[in-house]
């Protein structure tokens, strides 16, 4: 149990929120790019027929990612609130330990034991809840990773379909390239968040086993 671990959780929650805000921005940009691609493939007519289901897929993926980001941001905010609560609980535990250590000559020290037992129990329960919260966040981040999984295949297919679109080939190739870059960036941000959460999880596990 240390203030470092609390700081770590607070920083992680803030970092995850910041990373997700970047992910949301990228997903929004993807959504706009998709609208643009839809307009191009509409103009290309028959030649870009194969490109249309691809744009629908990308659009759906961008919407999924944005929804997940909103959900995870709320969870991350809750995590930071829990980290603050945890600081209060740790401080309380420390204050009461000091009282217990200094009160061996006090006549009424035993009257404090129920309160100390309650605080210790609260702390253990809190650690458990916190651990579950971090795992839930990790799983939600995994959902983002899963949502973007098909993007590489789609990106390759997009290039093939773009090459068939004759006069619109260059524009659609740019769309395909952007999609690849955007999903790469999303994956990088999500991976970084997951690594941070994994660290917190390790710390919490270590503290619980002590």
């Amino acid at each position: 149990m240390s203030s470092n671990s609390t700081e770590n959780i607070l920083i992680t929650a803030a970092t995850v929120t910041a990373e997700l805000s970047k992910v949301k921005k990228i997903a929004k940009e993807m959504s706009i790019a998709v609208m643009n691609a839809k307009a191009i493939s509409h103009r290309a007519g028959e030649a870009a027929l194969g490109f249309r289901p691809i744009t629908d897929f990308i659009d759906e993926m961008a919407q999924d990612v944005m929804q997940l980001v909103i959900k995870i941001s709320k969870e991350a905010f809750h995590l930071s609130q829990m980290a603050v609560e945890r600081t209060h609980l740790i401080n309380t535990k420390n204050h009461y330990s000091r009282v217990l250590n200094n009160s061996n000559k006090a006549n009424h020290v035993d009257s404090l034991k129920p309160a100390i037992n309650k605080i210790n129990l609260q702390y253990l329960n809190y650690q458990e809840t916190l651990q579950k919260k971090v795992i839930r966040l990790t799983l939600l981040l995994e959902d983002i990773q899963n949502s973007t999984k098909g993007s590489q295949v789609i990106s390759t297919t997009s290039r093939v379909e773009a090459s068939r679109a004759r006069g619109y080939r260059a524009s659609l190739e740019v769309v395909a390239g952007n999609l690849e870059q955007a999903t790469d960036k999303i994956r990088t941000h999500v991976k970084s968040s997951r690594n941070k959460l994994d660290n917190v999880l390790e710390i919490l596990k270590y503290e619980n086993n002590r």
Partner: protein, 243 residues
Amino acid sequence: MKATKIYDSKYQWFMFGRDPEKKEGIIDTNQYMIKTTDRTILLDPGGIEIFASMLTAVLHYTNVENITDLFASHQDPDIISSLGLWEEALPHAKLHTPWLWESFIRHFGSKNIEFAPIADEGGFIDLGDAQLQFIPAHYLHASGNFHVYDEEAKILMSGDVGAALEAAEAPMYVESFDEQIDKMKMFHQRWMPSNRAKQDWINRVRLLDIDIMAPQHGRLFKGDDVKRFLDWFEDLEVGIAIA
């Protein structure tokens, strides 16, 4: 933390303070406890930093179950920022505090404690053996502020009125009123904003029979020094920091 019994009859008044473990740079505070047969009230129980020392000192004299009431004269951190910590040991205690500050004091980590807001006119609390009055002391220095008067013990817990900034090892009682003036003049002139509020309080307090005036910082006033203080305070211009 030193504990001094300042009244001992059917019930007791204790003063806690002069904490040698207190961190550097934190103002020294006096906390008070009134212990009757089956109830105990803590008056201005103090800040977070002194919580452990204060609770340790209290446990020499009473069970935590017997602490049924807390009183906070106003909202300052040195008065009641320890609230969230006390709550853990006193889940059934009531906090008596100016109604004005309830929602502010809840910022001090308070979750469950029952607030007993004191109306501007003041009020009473019956602790069985002891009956206490909450005396209005608004603007001295906080805009919602009360002192505690015990008619039987003839003690007025006077919050920041009578306070002095001095060394942590200072004696418990004022030994020379004239020497005390230097230690409390600036405090009163700067912290107390209103001459009108000051006069209202003096008029009210002159009607009380007081043996001990017990401020939240510095030394306690006993006997004739109480009247000396009231005369001195009446002549003192306060709220002087307006440039």
